[in-house]
Symmetry: C2
Subunit: 503 residues, 2 copies
């Protein structure tokens, strides 16, 4: 005979099940980190197999009927506090969503992703979109099927957006990208009418070791805890977290481009500060996880752009930079340096875009994804639509597919609905930073003295500790008193570029 | 209705179950590697939890009744070839052994190990064996219980020896250590009667980066595949394998001791060559695993001592070494260098011992472990027995417990029966190397020209590819025509030290 368990005991049981799953998933993250940093090349095949095994184990654990039963018993239980109730509600939501996928669909999607990724690689090598198109057609058919599996209101694309940014809809994004178009186009035109600032001194030789040390120093000064993290080199910079006490960043160093490492380092540092600021006692539970990609990106971009590309930031750091690289910067004034690092220049490649034109790259992808999902853009027209959009919004001619429609890996992975979160991140960042400037006395002054303590404290109080307790929308209202408003970004951009392009 | 499965299908099912377990265990090895190399300090607690979770999952998988049923169905099945039958037989042996442990014993042992390790740390800090003694008493009681659980013939210690070196017994080891005593004692006395060789030039400053590069170069030249492995820094050097295509070594560098890195690098390289030489197609199965610790150690010591401390080896490398470190070695002849790296000097610490006196350190531990297991040495007498043995065999006075009975971590981990494999490794190495010298035309000459290809090929043909298909004893007979004979090591040592100490 077993007595019935108390709610507290049941909640503890739920916690330990979730932590076990988190242990497996975080172990996969360690394997993934190793794969991008230190894995010897011949080890790739067995590593893939090891990841598949762990992924299978995590899936088995998270679809156990016993977990579902437990979650349903605990759901809305009045003995639980608000945080516990939120954890249960979100876990149940995740559990039920996970259970919706038929095994046959999961297998088909896994194969399609694999095929599609290899087709994309092949198409890039041949610089020929038509090689990718059949796999993409199949992928899109599956993603449409997924929207039906998941269910949605309004536009089918909403089902996919929701995977990355809970609550995001085409209604919300249409409005935001309408603002991008109507407000940023004139701003861009205004900039293009002014004499261009020079940035050639950023493309001279910058010693690798000095860059590495500078990056580490900046991370430390931002407040990134190197006893609970580390920096390594990888081909593409990323942040990964195994728990709030082990959050790692990577960077890459281009000896002929100062900007490459510096802002990617600050950017990843912003992601890492969020992960280090999540509540460790909520490990494995929803309230211990980042709330959305948009909010995650708001943290990286706030540090990268609002802080790291500001004049205040470099007022403090520039003298040191000149000492480090006198041969390149000895004769460059702070003002010229500041202009250079903020140069606006429409270009072909999203990841190399400046802070302003970046959002046109995203808007184009957003419109295309929406059109692919509702069928208004046929896959076979994609290349044409892409090139037209680039001509129209960024006034550039796409010379080939590698610099055009084949540039991003996302679609080959089946990641539709991901791109918009990049822009949302910038817009949230502007709104958060403006709020911090209002709420933190002397914030700008502190930053201009290399002191980020009060900013980090504000983030650690207002953004980081809640995990998924608040959705991005709820968090934004709680912190700033308003839903996301594009006007904050616009104000920030107008003021900034007026200073840089002198009007 | 399900049709009955063919033997081939069942064997495939067995393979995939075993590979899944291997994936989990190898993932634990990745976590372990990361822990010793790159883990930020605050990440330790969650890492421990993640390891415990994976260990639990591996245990669940390897104790599944379905696996036992499958193994019993396949056992001695005539449709399987010899290799398959061996895999099944060994897996069943492992499975049954694993099942013998009552859950209560496993839990008790896990707690005891934890306590005992912390007691050992505390005792070392206080330099006081009596702090460790109570935990050790408990540990030994549990190890005695384990010998009963496992079962044994003859001495209870045999049950523990068998865990590290299948088939090893006190009868075999008594004989070997009797030889150590009766043959190496006079040899040591003979050396001690001769003038000591000097080695102070090995303890000058040797640049860290140059040492690192030298180590990597030596590994490459030995044939270690750096596309299927890598070297990193850790506090204690070790080799770890995640599969034959990803076998990693670590080293440590002491800028004031040339020998520290060099031979540890070659030693770990020998381990790594064995792991890289295991058959990848047997991944996860017994015939894809190293056969014993003694054979593993034979590979590291063959390279470290028989090759890496030989005159032939340095005939080739010494000129380069002089070029690398002219300030220390410019005026030191090859002969003086060779003497210095082979200096024999009785000492207190096992891990710092030379190739000859090392075996007295092991003999002492062997006699103590045997005595602890049969009760002839009480735990409370251990410190006294230890110090007496050191005085008697090595003519050194143990000044304190940290330099005496508390020096090794093994007992605190419950590793009893492990130490003898270190000596077995040296003795197997001598027997294997002598056989290779007979069978490989021009081997010594090749080595003296920096060419290890023919040696590695011999090892890759005769030792590495069999995994656990042969026990160490069977392997030794197959390769050398004889069971392990101490005389090979003795001949090697007598010849070597006659050259070095000039008699």
């Amino acid at each position: 005979m077993t007595g019935s368990k108390s709610t507290a005991e049941q909640y503890t049981g739920y916690q330990s099940k979730m932590q076990k799953i988190a242990d497996v998933r975080n172990t996969m993250a360690v394997l993934g980190w190793d794969q991008e940093t230190y894995l010897p090349e011949k080890g790739a095949a067995f590593r893939g197999q090891q990841l598949t095994t762990l992924s299978g184990i995590a899936h088995e654990l998270f679809t156990e009927d016993a977990l579902g039963d437990l979650l349903r018993q605990l759901h809305h239980h009045k003995d639980l506090d608000a945080l516990q109730q939120k954890n249960i509600a979100l876990s149940l939501e995740d559990y039920d969503k996970n259970k919706k996928y038929p095994a046959s669909f999961v297998a088909e999607m896994s194969n399609a992703t694999n095929e599609s990724y290899h087709a994309w690689i092949k198409a890039r090598k041949a610089n020929d979109y038509s090689i990718f198109a059949p796999a993409l057609t199949k992928m899109i058919a599956l993603k449409k099927q997924e929207t039906t599996i998941l269910g949605y209101e309004g536009h089918p694309y909403n089902a996919l957006l929701n995977e990355y940014e809970k609550g995001a809809t085409t209604t919300m994004l249409d409005k935001i990208f309408e603002d991008v178009k109507s407000a940023l186009s004139p701003l861009l035109a205004k900039i293009e009418a002014r004499p261009q600032v020079e940035k050639d001194f950023l493309l001279k030789r910058y010693d690798r070791d000095k860059q590495w040390q500078l990056g580490l120093d900046l991370l430390k000064e931002m407040g990134y805890d190197l006893q609970a993290g580390r920096q390594d080199i990888s081909e593409h910079p990323f942040t990964t977290s195994f728990n709030p006490h082990d959050v790692r960043v990577t960077t890459r160093i281009d000896e002929n481009d100062f900007g490459n490492m510096t802002w990617s380092c600050i950017h990843e540092g912003g992601h890492a500060l969020y992960e280090q600021g999540l509540p460790a006692e909520q490990y494995g539970l929803p309230c211990g996880e980042a709330t959305s990609l948009g909010i995650h990106e708001s943290q990286s971009r706030l540090w990268e752009n609002n802080v790291g590309r500001s004049l205040n930031f470099w007022k403090f750091h520039y003298a040191r930079l000149q000492q480090l690289f006198p041969e390149n910067l000895g004769n460059v004034s702070l003002e010229r340096f500041y202009q250079a690092i903020n140069q606006v220049q429409p270009s072909l490649i999203r990841t190399e875009a400046d802070e302003l034109t970046y959002h046109f790259h995203i808007m184009i992808r957003y419109e295309i994804e929406k059109g692919l999902m509702d069928g208004s853009i046929p896959v076979n027209d994609l290349q044409h639509v892409w090139n037209e959009h680039y001509r129209k919004y960024l006034h550039v001619t796409v010379p080939d597919d590698v610099q055009g429609v084949l540039q991003d890996i996302h679609w080959s992975h089946g990641s539709f609905g991901y791109f918009p979160t990049y822009s949302l991140g910038s817009f949230y960042a502007a709104q958060f930073f403006t709020t911090a400037q209002k709420q933190v006395p002397g914030l700008d002054d502190a930053i201009s003295h290399g002191n980020y303590h009060s900013l980090l404290e504000w983030l650690r109080t207002n953004i980081h500790p809640f995990g998924r307790f608040y959705t991005s929308n709820e968090l934004c209202k709680k912190v700033t008193g308003q839903e996301l408003q594009f006007s904050y970004f616009l104000d920030y951009a107008e003021k900034k570029y007026a200073g840089i392009y002198n009007w």
